[in-house]
Subunit: 196 residues, 4 copies
């Protein structure tokens, strides 16, 4: 019985690099993979691009109103399904992926953010934390040197705690910084005492 | 910087035993722990009882309208906070625990279910999956011998897929069975083909 | 294909409690387990005893000159093999367990120490770290509150760094204390500067 | 207190890619890393090269008769030490790295093989399994699609079970294939019954 994996991490934790490495490992052995990305992520269009310099074309750009059965996939030829930016899937798409892994016996590895800039789930990662067989964290580094867990948003280089859930990195003066819990409390929530 | 841990699993995965073992490990070394349970879990009242035969009194039965600051706790004397049935916490209580772990530098270990009988989150475990520093799975066994991940509800010994989120095990002909994903699909959702 | 698991930890990390909880989980579902202990561990003879108060009889006390095939086991009736004090197995016994897990398709869970009082392997855990499909750490607490990794030996309540690899806890004035790496360096190796 | 990490895997599990991704994550934040490789690994000389196409120069090629103190390193400027092919370190070098992580408070991440082509340790990874604070597995794919754990050696494209511990991939008709436990038993050890 194949598994549904969710490998999550803050921004800049190397998720796209890791996905491309896994695809490479399969293909090197003569296995075929299927690479999926939610169309909500408009960055790069049909290309996956990692900061470290790797890139690869996506097989399916999945719209929120679609399901994988719209694509008439022959799962018998596919050794692994890889999903990037999986936090942008809708819940039913994750449920479908979970069922595919069990019924078609194909391992599925989803990569995505753990939380938004306010520490809350998106739709896809919420459902992945409910259903995935394996949860594995990818790590990156906070400014203090500890493991970063959170994605703090900056507008004009100042931390903000309000705004829309989705705002593209690099547009409209928005940038992000990956922070550990302590630095997020200090810098975004400005809390250093326990209160409610 | 201390961590917030969430150790989750299906019913009968030994969560209360594990909690009492950790408490024992601390106390054996002369450290003091604080054991908390949400009052929503009425089973056993102020006692934790594990199926394997261990028991222990809870220090705080936390109501949904309370926060830990209502208890004027001196954190300097506490080496670890242990929370049982943490899925029943409300979201703000989890946020508070997370802040306490960072600001008071006290490790906090929450034990709880991963999901309800329909594979959805409760309030407390949703927030724990968003915030906890470490997510660790406790495992139990499905009828087929694989790792059980889901809590299937039975009424009069038949699997049901609808009903209230909370129904006490053993009352009103309700029982639960821990199932793996494949057995949950087969027996509760009665699905063996991929559809939407 | 079933897996060979090695769940390792320092002394007093709750290994025997964890083993008995897993046995309980299987038996509660009507599955049969086989509990094995190397005869080298003379403590408790045929009984497993956990500090927290649980106990259970062992099915096989395995001598260093024996293999499991000496017992003519019908693996078709066994859902899981559980081994306590697995560090005392000899290497060939671990290799045999690994082959059994794959060829007979029976999951095998070994519990044992990670290292001796000088931070070196015993025979069984060395081979388990080479072969086990899953390595999982059980944790206990150091005097400083951090995770303990090492088993420091005391004779007449003073830390020692030389002696036989095996010395029974509680006999001949020997006791053990589980320490984290920093406390082991400070107290046993008396090192606080980097040298060779 | 910083940790010593050992991230191990079979050949072609993406160890060098992962190391370069971590270095990139640190450097992107303005932190400095130190990259070390045992000189025993002559492949690539002072360059790390990953199959997927990344490369980077090593800071220190460490000989078996050297220790890091021979390099007069100012640890206050270094946020992380990264070691590739760590299975080729000698045991004392690993002990030194472990002490550095604790005494100088610098995280150290070692990447290396889990075992040689006969499923036995090298010198460096044996000591890492004894001492590392965190053990994390990197995975690659077996010919059967399962996770590969072992490095099978081929000479003239036939599996062999005897020979020197170190033989360079691609020289003298030697190649390697990463296999899961079942495929290793079937193809290298030619065993499909349990015997001793």
């Amino acid at each position: 019985m194949a598994k549904l994996y969710f490998r999550y991490g803050a921004m800049n934790s190397g998720k796209s690099t890791a996905l491309m490495q896994v695809a490479h490992n399969y293909e090197e052995r003569g296995h075929q993979v299927l690479v999926v990305k939610p169309s909500v992520d408009t960055k790069g269009d049909k290309m996956l691009v990692s900061r470290i310099g790797l890139q690869r074309e996506v097989d399916i750009l999945l719209r929120p109103d679609e399901s994988l059965k719209d694509y008439n996939i022959d799962y018998s030829n596919i050794s692994c399904i890889l999903v990037d930016e999986a936090q942008f899937l809708i819940g039913d798409q994750v449920t479908e992926l979970w069922a595919i892994s069990k019924i078609e016996d194909v391992p599925i590895i989803c990569y995505g953010l753990r939380s938004d800039f306010q520490t809350n789930f998106f739709t896809g990662n919420k459902r992945l934390f409910e259903l995935a067989d394996e949860l594995e964290e990818l790590v990156t580094i906070c400014r203090c040197g500890k493991r970063a867990k959170f994605n703090a948003r900056k507008v004009n280089d100042k931390f903000v705690s309000d705004g829309d859930q989705v705002a593209i990195d690099g547009e409209n003066n928005v940038t992000y910084e990956s922070l550990c819990g302590k630095c997020y409390l200090d810098n975004v929530l400005r809390r250093n005492k326990v209160k409610n």
